[in-house]
């Protein structure tokens, strides 16, 4: 029913609005403290792996394309391709999370995880000395990493939910539930997926590229 379709689309957009406001709060915290502690943020950013970040950006953008294609296939009642595109999206999403997990694993080993495992600067006093030199306390790098993990963590939670949905939709799509004229759920899932993508689009330069491509890079 048309009215219902419109309701669902509008409802989903409203939901996305709430998501944006929620992430927006974090983005604000980020902006504020980056403005206050530029040196520390640059320093923190140097510990992120730009190349993994770039690959992940690519993966996620690509998954947006495949998701859009899935929506397209649902619209043209192409069951096979719908399922294929959804599966590809799923794989890409999983790849993103996998890469993210690798990054976090490295952070863990290096002791860059605030609250749980934070000893990088204790292990590397020369780094700490550099920070002191630059008038930036180690604790302000800690702040950067706290923000980093909150943002990427919340984003990852959204990815995980999205993955679950994409998987479910692939199965349901296989059963033909979206190619009988009822393609709207796929569209709505698409909206969600794209939003998660958009958030990453902002996270990437904000977190990884603070120190620039040349200074940051392969780990630290």
């Amino acid at each position: 029913m048309k009215q219902q379709r419109e309701c669902h689309t509008l409802g989903m957009w409203l939901f996305l609005v709430t998501e944006l406001m929620m992430f927006g709060g974090l983005f604000f915290v980020y902006s504020l403290y980056r403005g206050m502690f530029p040196v520390a943020f640059e320093e923190g950013s140097k510990h992120l792996n730009i190349w993994l970040g770039t690959i992940n950006t690519f993966v996620l953008l690509f998954s947006s394309l495949t998701m859009a294609m899935a929506v397209h296939s649902a619209g043209s009642k192409d069951r096979k391709w719908l399922v294929r595109w959804l599966l590809i999206t799923f794989v890409l999403g999983a790849a993103f999370l996998g890469i993210k997990a690798v990054e976090w694993g490295v952070d863990w080993q290096e002791g860059l995880i605030p609250g749980l495992n934070w000893h990088y600067y204790a292990d590397h006093p020369e780094q700490a000395a550099h920070l002191l030199e630059a008038n930036s306390g180690v604790h302000q790098v800690l702040m950067f990493f706290t923000i980093y993990f909150c943002m990427t963590g919340l984003h990852a939670i959204h990815m995980i939910i999205g993955l679950g949905l994409v998987g479910t939709f692939a199965v349901m799509g296989w059963q033909g539930k979206f190619t009988n004229g009822n393609e709207q759920p796929v569209e709505i899932l698409g909206l969600y997926w794209h939003l998660v993508d958009i958030i990453w689009i902002f996270l990437f330069p904000l977190l990884y590229l603070i120190a620039g491509l040349m200074h940051g890079g392969g780990g630290h």
Binding site: L16, S31, M36, L65, A68, L209
Partner: protein, 145 residues
């Protein structure tokens, strides 16, 4: 209400005769969907959602890829205070591309766009008013100890 964007599948007008001055009363509400109310068979072109050819998607994706490369390139030179605005401008461009084409904002009702815009507007409120505090704190600095 049938004004702006309605794709004009004339059939939709039935019933609207009751609504007299309606069109003038609220601009917010002029979303022009086509209004085939009857069920499933019309979905191929319902809601304008699937008129986009695959080629468009590919073009959109290529644009995103180009922008990604630009993002990286822009991060190479040290542009001082300009690195951040440039990076953000590119990110906004990417986000807009995704929203307009992948998320079909281009074909959505003005109402949907309004809400999408509202989110950014309200975020701007959060940012601007809170920053107005932090930015202006030094203006009033009392001598430190």
């Amino acid at each position: 209400m049938a004004s702006k964007k309605s794709k004009g599948q004339g059939a939709q007008e039935h019933g609207h005769s009751h609504e007299g001055g309606h069109a003038h009363s609220h601009a917010v509400e002029t979303h022009g969907r086509d209004t085939h109310g009857h069920g499933h068979d019309t979905h191929g072109h319902d809601d304008d959602h699937h008129v986009m050819p695959i080629k468009t998607y590919l073009i959109v994706f290529s644009t995103l890829m180009v922008l990604l490369v630009v993002t990286l390139l822009a991060a190479i030179p040290d542009l001082g205070p300009w690195n951040l605005p440039i990076a953000m401008a590119i990110a906004v461009a990417k986000a807009l591309v995704v929203m307009i084409w992948f998320m079909h904002l281009k074909f959505s009702s003005p109402l949907t766009r309004l809400f999408a815009g509202a989110a950014f507007f309200w975020l701007a409120i959060l940012f601007l008013l809170t920053l107005s505090d932090y930015i202006s704190r030094p203006w009033f600095d009392v001598p430190k100890l």
